[in-house]
């Protein structure tokens, strides 16, 4: 019985990897798309420090920078949809993270620049309560941050 189970698992696995190989071969998936992995540890981190460590490999605090511009409302009447724009005037930006400090899982979004990528990102996030929104930016050799407080009238994380 055990051999049978193992064989089945083996067949399943080889079938799955075969499908990926075919998709790559047919040009449906670029190698980068296959390799780029969602960072589970960073997205499940419960504090800004852990996000910085798991996403950016940073120990300690990031340096504040005036070259990171966060556009967000001062007051968000609806915490379910808070528009956040991050615009960075630096060279060599690899990653831009949008972090809502007081959310149960603070990391909301991470933008990774590929070839030609301009260090800019906008999306809408949920905010449970009034909090600093932190933009953390990783360049080739350093990590920077900027923050802006958003006051939330009605939280957007509950049900």
């Amino acid at each position: 019985m055990q051999t049978d189970t193992k064989r089945r698992v083996f067949l399943k696995r080889s079938a799955a990897s075969g499908a990926v190989a075919v998709a790559v071969g047919a040009g449906l998936l670029t190698p980068q798309m296959v390799l780029a992995e969602w960072n589970k540890a960073a997205f499940e981190s419960k504090s800004v420090e852990d996000v910085a460590k798991n996403l950016m490999g940073l120990e300690g605090a990031a340096e504040e920078s005036a070259d990171i511009n966060i556009k967000a409302p001062d007051i968000a009447e609806n915490g379910a949809v808070v528009p956040i724009t991050v615009d960075v005037s630096m060279d060599g930006v690899e990653t831009i993270a949008i972090i809502a400090k007081e959310n149960p899982s603070p990391l909301a979004a991470a933008f990774t620049m590929g070839e030609g990528g301009v260090p800019f990102g906008r999306t809408n996030i949920k905010m449970g309560k009034t909090s600093d929104v932190i933009a953390m930016v990783k360049t080739a050799d350093k990590t920077y941050m900027a923050k802006k407080e958003v006051k939330v009238t009605i939280g957007g994380c509950g049900g």
Binding site: W38, N103, S105, T112, T123, N124, K126
Partner: protein, 103 residues
């Protein structure tokens, strides 16, 4: 029916890509009001913006991004008439993509 609308516009050598995705973006923290049971997490994890065979910008998201999410990113190296492809995958294996011509 696509789950997504994509627009791309070139201005001064920079291509602006906007995508609107139809998706519930459930965090997994909410409870069903009637049954009291938790609603399973269901959210878009990754959005890839491709152009000219290159991965220009990738956005990784959590359930902390709003329902029916918006993506707005920019890249250099595209011209009017080129095609831009945006593809997303969610945490339950769902996926979709859409293309737009750069205007």
């Amino acid at each position: 029916m696509s789950s997504m609308k994509v627009k791309a516009k070139e201005k001064d050598g920079i291509v602006e890509v906007k995508a609107l995705i139809k998706h519930p973006m459930e965090t997994g923290l909410r409870k069903d009001k009637k049954t009291g049971k938790p609603i399973p997490a269901h959210f878009v994890q990754q959005v890839v913006v491709e152009h000219g065979g290159k991965n220009r910008v990738t956005a990784d998201w959590s359930g902390g991004v709003s329902k029916n999410p918006l993506l707005f990113v920019k890249f250099k190296g595209g011209a009017k008439g080129d095609m831009v492809k945006v593809a997303w995958t969610d945490n339950q294996g769902g996926t979709d993509s859409a293309e737009a011509e750069i205007k």
